[in-house]
């Protein structure tokens, strides 16, 4: 299979890329790692007339500290994230999640920017970014907009990105040093999208949950933030009754599709189990 015809551009700067996107209009797509877009082009599910390859823009790569935030360039690959000591130390949930994405070859090419900007509900990073309270930097000819991950996703493959805009970076507030975390992903086989997955970041105080946020992957048209489920465990010691309440609150907002990964009922059921496991695992890791 070969993609349909298109014109290819490789700008050297973000400004040049944004200029191209504005000039080429709706028929242009930015190309990051290409491991979602190129397969879709081969199947004619995407037929862009122009591809703007961001690979040559050095400023879009890398991980840096900016005050109490970690800023990750959009073209940073999953492999780069796994190789980063800073990520392993400051954002260990990002390390844990990156290991669960696809396979080694895909992780060398796949970027965090592409993963979050594509709007695919099966991708793992959107729920994680919502859970961490991350902000996306969207850059267009009008300048830079900062949009919280929690407000970015509007539907499957529909996001807050305006035509001509490129997602250039992701800013993640550094979690408390004593936080606990877990990303629990049920999948049919290694490399698969989640049947159901849950991200948890929490802090404990005196054996009770002090703060908590919970994100859900592939259990609706977009990644979800399970606020009610998180509220259900704050102030508790994660006893069985509280865990069950959290799972029920999370299941109440899930609306998964039925597909080869299971029926909607099954996926909601295991989604609740992922929430419980992630809460327990995160609590065990909290200091």
């Amino acid at each position: 299979m070969i993609p349909g015809q298109f014109q290819y551009y490789r700008p050297a700067t973000t400004a040049e890329a944004i200029g191209l996107m504005a000039k080429l209009g709706d028929d242009a797509r930015p190309l990051a790692g290409g491991h979602s877009l190129i397969p879709m082009m081969k199947l004619r599910l995407a037929t862009p007339e122009h591809l703007v390859d961001l690979h040559g823009i050095a400023s879009l790569k890398g991980i840096r500290r900016e005050g109490d935030r970690i800023v990750i360039g959009a073209m940073t690959t999953q492999h780069d994230l796994l190789a980063s000591d800073e990520i392993a130390k400051m954002l260990p949930i990002l390390h844990e999640t990156s290991l669960l994405i696809a396979d080694p070859q895909v992780r060398y090419m796949g970027t965090i920017g592409g993963n979050v900007a594509n709007g695919d509900p099966g991708n793992d990073m959107p729920a994680l970014m919502m859970t961490l309270g991350a902000t996306y930097h969207l850059e267009g000819q009008g300048g830079v907009r900062q949009v919280p991950a929690a407000e970015f996703y509007q539907g499957a493959y529909f996001t807050a990105l305006e035509p001509g805009e490129i997602l250039t970076a992701i800013a993640v507030p550094t979690p408390a040093a004593n936080h606990g975390y877990a990303y629990e992903k049920l999948k049919r086989k290694i490399g698969d999208y989640a049947t159901a997955a849950a991200a948890v970041v929490l802090t404990m105080s005196g054996g009770k949950v002090a703060t908590c946020s919970i994100g859900l992957t592939n259990l609706s048209e977009t990644a979800l933030l399970a606020d009610e489920a998180a509220k259900a465990v704050i102030g508790t010691s994660l006893d069985d009754a509280s865990l069950k309440r959290a799972a029920a609150a999370a299941e109440a907002i899930m609306s998964p599709a039925g597909d080869g990964r299971g029926s909607p009922e099954y996926r909601k059921y295991v989604g609740g189990i992922m929430v419980i496991r992630a809460l327990q695992h995160a609590a065990a890791r909290a200091k």
Binding site: M1, I2, P3, G4, Q5, F6, Q7, Y8, R10, L31, G34, H35, I38, P39, M41, K42, L51, D53, H55, H79, A102, D103, P104, Q105, V106, Y108, M109, I190, G191
Partner: protein
């Protein structure tokens, strides 16, 4: 559609060609360069038969455009043997440990295992299995592929290969 001029180094040699932007790297390698050791298996980024080494990364060349590889350093299965033409430690391992049956996945397996051993010279069995998770084999059940990679790691490290106790 206007063609684009691309240059890259493949197995140490400068190569160039004119390609449509939509030409996949695997087609450039197999058809323009006539190096057919790199296989097309699933053509959907799953099976890893088309794996090549690109700038120190294992990539599935059915999912990379040839134009994306402009200026890149690429190694394929044709570049895996020792400089004097003898089998590399990995090739020898696949031969000695019966790491292939039909052989279709083998080029991708060896190119991937080559990068894995560059990054981790003494991987555990679990690290090997995780490291080749992007390569599918429908014959061996992976058992002898894992042994082949363990054999190669031992040889590269200058130690005797010892089978793990069953």
């Amino acid at each position: 559609m206007a063609k684009t001029h691309v240059t890259m180094r493949v197995n140490g040699a400068e190569v160039e060609g004119l390609v449509e932007p939509r030409t996949l790297l695997v087609h450039f390698i197999r058809e323009n360069l006539q190096m057919t050791g790199t296989h097309i298996g699933c053509d959907t980024t799953h099976c890893g038969a088309c794996t090549v080494d690109l700038n120190g990364m294992s990539v599935k060349s059915c999912t990379v455009l040839a134009v994306q590889a402009e200026g890149a350093e690429i190694s394929t299965i044709e570049g895996m043997a020792n400089a004097d033409g003898t089998l590399s430690a990995l090739q020898e391992g696949f031969r000695m440990m019966h790491g292939l049956q039909c052989g279709f996945c083998t080029p991708g397996m060896i190119v991937r295992a080559h990068r894995l051993l560059q990054e981790n010279t003494s991987p555990t069995e679990e690290e090997i299995r995780f490291g080749i998770a992007g390569n599918l084999c429908r014959c061996t059940g992976y058992q002898n592929i894992v042994r082949a990679i363990q054999y190669a790691a031992a040889k590269i490290n200058g130690v005797e290969f010892q089978e793990a106790a069953e």
